[in-house]
């Protein structure tokens, strides 16, 4: 069907366009099933962690974890543990509990009264497969789940094609991970809306830009609870897309924070 030992597909998921490119020494059927597996992996993340879906596992936690401990999946548990660790290492700059500020500004759908939510990441208790909020609050994985989904998709492609895989790229609205990034470039939309070409310095990149909203980003300072003004597009290259996605928030708030270096990230302003 494709005759090029490759497939490129694009679907709408996670509120954005998800683009998958695969080159492999494989037939059409295998290429198709590898791309299906990648999209399915992203679907699973969306179904579990969407803030916008009132029926997602995340919405169940947000609606009732302040009343009693809520059992969560392994995916949820692992991601939340990882996020809390990064919150600690970034001195609270990365914080999945900034959702109430985004709710108040209309950037997230308000399923529940936001003004009743005052807790932060320190109010989260994880115990025996359950999550409990000591104070009413709301989690939002919007700053990390897209990157995680991209990692899962690349993993699904690698598992489907194993040694036959030559090159693969998954791009979810600018959160990009490649299998084999050697000599690859990526176009980054800079502060003037021009496209600037950057080398893929590591396998994953995520960027945060503010040109589209008068310089106001969707990144909130966890202490001030205000959206951050940005002068540049901030791109973070890292060893996986979840990390790149999450660290863009830290880089926007404090470009010199030690966690960026400690986690092996490279930051480029454009």
């Amino acid at each position: 069907m494709y005759d090029m030992k490759g497939i490129s597909r694009c679907q709408t998921l996670l509120g954005t366009f998800v683009q998958i490119d695969i080159e492999a020494d494989a037939d059409d059927r295998l290429l198709l099933s590898a791309s299906d597996a990648a999209f399915n992996a992203i679907h699973e993340v969306q179904d579990e962690l969407s803030f916008h879906d009132a029926n997602s596992a995340l919405s169940l936690v947000n609606s009732s974890a302040h009343l009693a401990p809520v059992p969560v999946s392994r995916m949820f548990w692992d991601l939340l543990s990882w996020c809390l660790c990064l919150s600690k290492d970034s001195d609270g700059l990365f914080d999945v509990s900034v959702a109430p500020a985004l709710l108040n500004d209309g950037r997230l759908p308000n399923h529940w009264p936001a003004n009743l939510r005052s807790g932060n990441h320190e109010s989260i208790v994880m115990n025996n497969g359950t999550v409990y909020f000591e104070q009413a609050m709301a989690l939002d994985f919007g700053g990390v789940a897209k990157g995680m989904a991209v990692d899962f998709a690349i993993q699904a492609i690698k598992e489907a094609l194993s040694a036959d895989l030559v090159q693969a790229t998954v791009n979810a609205g600018g959160d990009i991970r490649m299998y084999d990034c050697h000599q690859q470039v990526v176009g980054v939309v800079n502060r003037c809306q021009n496209v600037e070409m950057l080398h893929m310095q590591q396998v994953a990149v995520a960027s945060s830009a503010a040109y589209y909203d008068n310089g106001v980003s969707a990144i909130y300072h966890p202490k001030a609870m205000k959206a951050r003004k940005m002068d540049h597009t901030v791109s973070v290259f890292a060893s996986n897309c979840q990390l790149a996605d999450a660290l863009t928030k830290v880089a926007v708030l404090d470009l010199n924070h030690s966690v960026l270096n400690d986690r092996g990230a490279q930051v480029v302003l454009s």
Partner: protein, 178 residues
């Protein structure tokens, strides 16, 4: 200098360039026939074309709360009632081509983006220029030869969601009766 070294040098020189002015990023993913193979792999289908009347367009607009720009609906249809509609929506500035599969009950079976286009560049900062440009396409440099992936751009898929909603209502109002 061997070829590999030359390529590397060329790449290093190319990377870091800023592409100023207005540019269109366009990437074709699948042909309509390939999308059909993915969404309806074993279903025998024939090409169809339906022209909507003004009254039908008005009904669809009212039901879907989405503007109906084109009065011609095209794609493939199976005798058993499955549809594959080839449609266009306007993204932020440019047209995006879609294939939308609807089953015999009008339920969405699958959606594939066929061609994604978007504009970047200095001129987009100017709202008046942007307004004039919207929906008219662009005769400018196509970038997909050089850049296969873009980061740092807002890429909301709301327009696609609206387009799918419009097509399900088009089935409801018109196609199911054809």
């Amino acid at each position: 200098m061997n070829r590999r070294h030359f390529n590397r040098q060329a790449m290093l020189i190319t990377a870091g360039l800023v592409l100023g002015g207005q540019k269109v990023f366009a990437k074709t993913f699948l042909s309509a026939a390939q999308a059909k193979q993915i969404i309806w792999p074993d279903v025998l289908m024939e090409a169809f074309e339906v022209t909507l009347s003004k009254a039908q367009m008005k009904e669809i607009k009212s039901a879907s709360r989405t503007r109906v720009r084109n009065n011609v609906i095209k794609g493939f249809k199976a005798e058993s009632g499955e549809w594959l509609i080839i449609d266009q929506v306007i993204g932020k500035h440019e047209f995006i081509d879609l294939a939308v599969g609807l089953d015999a009950k009008g339920k969405v079976k699958g959606v594939e983006v066929l061609t994604y286009r978007e504009s970047y560049g200095d001129e987009i900062m100017n709202p008046k220029w942007r307004e004039q440009f919207t929906g008219r396409g662009a005769e400018v440099l196509v970038l997909d030869q050089h850049i296969k992936n873009i980061s740092g751009a807002t890429m909301s898929c709301r327009h696609v969601t609206d387009g799918i909603n419009r097509l399900t209502h088009t089935w409801e109002q018109v196609l199911q009766h054809v």
